[in-house]
């Protein structure tokens, strides 16, 4: 697969197609606790949306809801044209979720992990190897069992699995956590390539300086609600204030 040269972040005046994510007053509960208490959000195709906000604000639940893992208690939610109330499973082929846990099999080697997750999404061996090389995992590291990797290396392996899935909607929950400097550069490059290939990305992160460089829009999630920030303070390419 020929390396795609990084495309500058698309301008925000993208044609208003059907929104990739459309949430209206969504309530979702974790046990008894209303993690999402009437959140509303709309994300257009190709956007890189940064979710800012304190811990326990509901960011993780919001991402898991968009991935169809959390049932909707109230409100309406549509992802990639599918109504989450009636059919949560249909969207899952097109969605890639990177949560706090990496979802790796400790006993299997890096290559076997990425091959397994890639195969489940129908990726060919070529794409799997490309994902490995892109994350710098194709050398000696590929044969090391995932259990023996450092946190950063496990994050990269999880990212490689994500790339091999070629998802249209990326849901990244604090992807920078645990990555060293060049790991973060790799991550930003991966996100840019994904957007270049037409994916939409939702990033929940506390690393604001780095994430802002990528984000086309920033919203704050607090108390289970989404508060839209004014779009002008997003996107380094428009010289937005920090």
């Amino acid at each position: 697969m020929s390396p795609v040269e990084p495309v500058p972040a698309p301008s925000t005046t993208v044609a208003i197609a059907a929104p990739v994510v459309a949430l209206r007053h969504v309530v979702a509960v974790l046990g008894r606790f209303p993690a999402l208490a009437g959140a509303s959000l709309e994300v257009q195709a190709g956007e890189v949306l940064l979710l800012k906000g304190p811990n326990g604000a509901g960011k993780t639940t919001l991402l898991r809801l968009c991935a169809g893992l959390v049932p909707l208690v109230r409100g309406e939610a549509e992802v990639l044209g599918h109504d989450l109330r009636t059919d949560r499973a249909a969207i899952r082929q097109h969605v890639g979720l990177l949560g706090h846990q990496n979802g790796l099999y400790a006993d299997l080697s890096v290559r076997e992990n990425v091959r397994f997750w890639g195969r489940t999404a129908g990726a060919s061996d070529g794409e799997i190897n490309a994902a490995l090389t892109q994350l710098g995992l194709d050398g000696r590291l590929a044969t090391v069992p995932a259990g023996r990797l450092s946190a950063g290396q496990r994050r990269r392996t999880a990212l490689a699995c994500l790339i091999a899935r070629r998802a249209r909607l990326w849901l990244l929950d604090e992807p920078h956590a645990g990555l060293d400097a060049d790991g973060r550069d790799l991550l930003d490059d991966v996100i840019r390539r994904a957007v270049g290939a037409g994916a939409t990305v939702l990033v929940a992160s506390h690393e604001l300086e780095r994430a802002k460089a990528l984000a086309t829009r920033i919203v704050t999630v607090a108390g289970g609600l989404v508060h839209n920030e004014s779009p002008d303070d997003a996107g380094a390419d428009r010289g937005g204030r920090v």
């Binding site: 893992l69 899952r92 949560g99």
Partner: protein, 233 residues
């Protein structure tokens, strides 16, 4: 569906091949239960007479340990969530995991059979070999289907370690009864009357029929029910 099943089965067996946890821990556990039974029952005529029952009891207890292991692998690093997000056909996951579980069970049963012959001086009538193999195959597939189905149900639950035996043991009762009676028909102690006076090989076959029904019913039920169960785990 079958592609996913092969994929998941290969992954499970790959994990077992790498970690060797089943071979190093579960197989000795099964052998140990045979020895403990011998201690408890003390006299040889008794153990020889109930050898088939002890064989399937040891297999059933090992089944619980194997099922807990196969789903612990999934929940260890959140792979269960990633499996759901992968959007693969749940029936494929079910069949894959059942296949891997069945493979491990067959290896376990082969060793147990040797153990039973050695420890309990049981003797399989030459004509009974076919019955033993067919019974073992059907009972194993039944146990694997039921184990994977209820393992999936209990996988995400909080008290899953104690919930699984409570759910699984009543359900495997028919297999325990059927497989043991079929084995009794195949076994025969050296000299002396058979396990039960006048038990012929042919008496075993109706039980094999029942085991086949059990495996078929739970195979179909699993394919249908595993998806919704995995969804809520």
């Amino acid at each position: 569906m079958w592609r996913t099943a092969r994929l998941v089965a290969a992954k499970d067996l790959g994990i077992e091949w790498r970690s060797r946890q089943v071979t190093n821990q579960v197989l000795p556990f099964a052998g140990l239960t045979l020895v403990l039974f011998a201690f408890a029952l003390d006299r040889d005529e008794i153990t020889a007479r109930v050898a088939p029952g002890l064989f399937w009891l040891a297999t059933t207890f090992s089944l619980i340990v194997l099922v807990q292991r196969t789903f612990a692998v999934e929940t260890a690093d959140g792979a269960l969530d990633t499996l759901r997000v992968a959007g693969v056909d749940p029936a494929g996951i079910y069949l894959g995991k059942a296949l891997a579980l069945a493979a491990q069970l067959v290896v376990l049963e082969a060793l147990l059979l040797v153990g039973v012959i050695v420890f309990y001086a049981s003797h399989i009538r030459p004509a009974g070999i076919v019955l033993v193999i067919v019974t073992a195959f059907l009972a194993t597939s039944g146990l694997a289907f039921v184990g994977t189905l209820y393992g999936g149900l209990a996988a995400g639950a909080k008290g899953r370690e104690t919930l699984l035996p409570l759910l699984l043991l009543p359900v495997v009762a028919p297999v325990l009864i059927g497989a043991t009676r079929a084995f009794e028909a195949a076994f025969g102690t050296r000299g002396g009357e058979g396990i039960r006076a006048g038990v012929e090989i042919s008496d075993g076959w109706p039980w094999v029929g029942m085991l086949a029904i059990f495996a078929a019913v739970f195979g179909a039920a699993g394919v249908l029910a595993f998806g919704p169960l995995l969804e809520e785990a």
